[in-house]
Amino acid sequence: MRVDLQEKKLGKERLERIIEICVAIENHQVDPFALNVDDIISVVRQYFPHWDQPDELKLDAEALHHLASVIQLQSEWVKQRSTSLYTDPFLLEEKIRHTSKQGMIKVFASAWSPLVESELLSLPAIMQGLLYWDGLVPLGDRWKNVDVSIVETSSVSKADMVKARVLSDKEFGEELECFWQELKLGVNEKCLDGKIAYWDFVGAESYEETVHRAFLTAFLVTYGYATLEIDRLEETVDIIPFEVARFEPLSVQSVSVPIAVSVEDWQKWKEGKQL
């Protein structure tokens, strides 16, 4: 059992290393042919029987996906070399270094056909311009002074501000805390696995309320009250509340996760809920 676990750990490390190399190749930091595809496939094949957990299988699929990208890059490289346009960059660089400016121009001019383009005013164009000028209202008339009436300053109560929706009836921190409690309660009541689907939590009766809840959820995640679990294969987003707020996300470099909350998405969610 222990041997199997060790084997799994080693396999995961090797797959992660493979992915790392493949990504470096995809970013043009390493030569695509530095990777021996046969060796890598044998490593992937060797560890495949050990994988039974979704995250392990995901890692395996990810390694194969990146490997496919590397093979594509290798194929492009071969194709490019086999075209008549290919020239050894080193050879060409040497040639450029040893050719004078005049020589370069001589060569370039033979392969260059510059654009022909004119700018010219015609009589009708001038007439059109004059007519436009005649019809143009002077700036003073177009930018009339905005009529701003002077009003007396006076005080306004918090209740009026809340009524005018300038202020919320709760402090933001307090509202966030309540929202966090609601999330925890919702997860405990509805879900056994400690997480809730993003739309099931954020979705509300009206679109405005949904946007407000999405806004607060973003702060819950940013401030370390909850986290997001994103499954890119299944295209699902879940919210996992923390029992105790974790403030590390604010101190370490975090990743922004854009989630669109469009009217269409909200309507789709609402229709799905009604079915």
Partner: protein
């Protein structure tokens, strides 16, 4: 094409030449769909006639497709998305600078040929290093920015330089590389010594 048919196209050719010669947008040239709208469905034929007229004047109608690779038999949809220009067919030696400064044009030639040889993409700092060997360093950056502004080169957010629409319209890349490789550098060097 017969003289009769050319006559039928005369009006459309006149319109096409006005559209292609005179600047209409910030970017030179005319989009295929604009020509389609102004000249009708047979605008590719109109452009063929115009090209015939331009031949004795050492000019040509050039088309640059959206995709880098030129389709063998372009469809009308592909032509509609393409951009059309009038270019010179050959640049006579006496006019070879076309108003450019010798340093600037040589720099452009070097940058384009270096990018072509590097699979169409190269780090800006590598081009700067190469140009810096023959052009003052303070000028290298300015020149590269100018080539980008004119549409010869395009720079991505990772600092990689690629060829842009204008190079595709104006430069025969294959010919440039072939000529450069076959250029006699020794004769060129001795010519330079003699002229000095």
């Amino acid at each position: 094409m017969s003289a009769k048919r050319k006559g039928q196209y005369a009006g459309k050719v006149k319109k096409a030449s006005q559209m292609l010669f005179y600047k209409r947008h910030v970017k030179p040239g005319v989009k295929g769909w604009e020509l389609h709208k102004a000249l009708g469905n047979d605008y590719p034929k109109v452009l063929d006639v115009l090209d015939d007229y331009l031949k004795p004047l050492d000019m040509q109608v050039k088309v640059v497709f959206e995709e880098e690779k030129q389709p063998e038999k372009p469809t009308i949809e592909e032509l509609d998305k393409a951009r059309f220009f009038v270019t010179l067919r050959n640049v006579a030696t006496k006019d070879k600078l076309m108003g450019w400064r010798v340093d600037d044009l040589a720099g452009l030639a070097i940058a384009i040929s270096y990018i072509v040889s590097n699979k169409g993409q190269v780090a800006r700092k590598d081009v700067e290093k190469l140009l810096g060997e023959k052009i003052p360093n303070w000028k290298v950056g300015l020149n590269l920015d100018r080539y980008v502004r004119y549409g010869y080169l395009i720079q991505d957010d990772k600092g990689q330089l690629c060829l842009d629409w204008r190079t595709r319209a104006e430069v025969d890349q294959k010919k440039l590389i072939e000529l450069l490789l076959s250029f006699d550098t020794e004769a060129d060097a001795s010519e330079m010594v003699e002229s000095n």
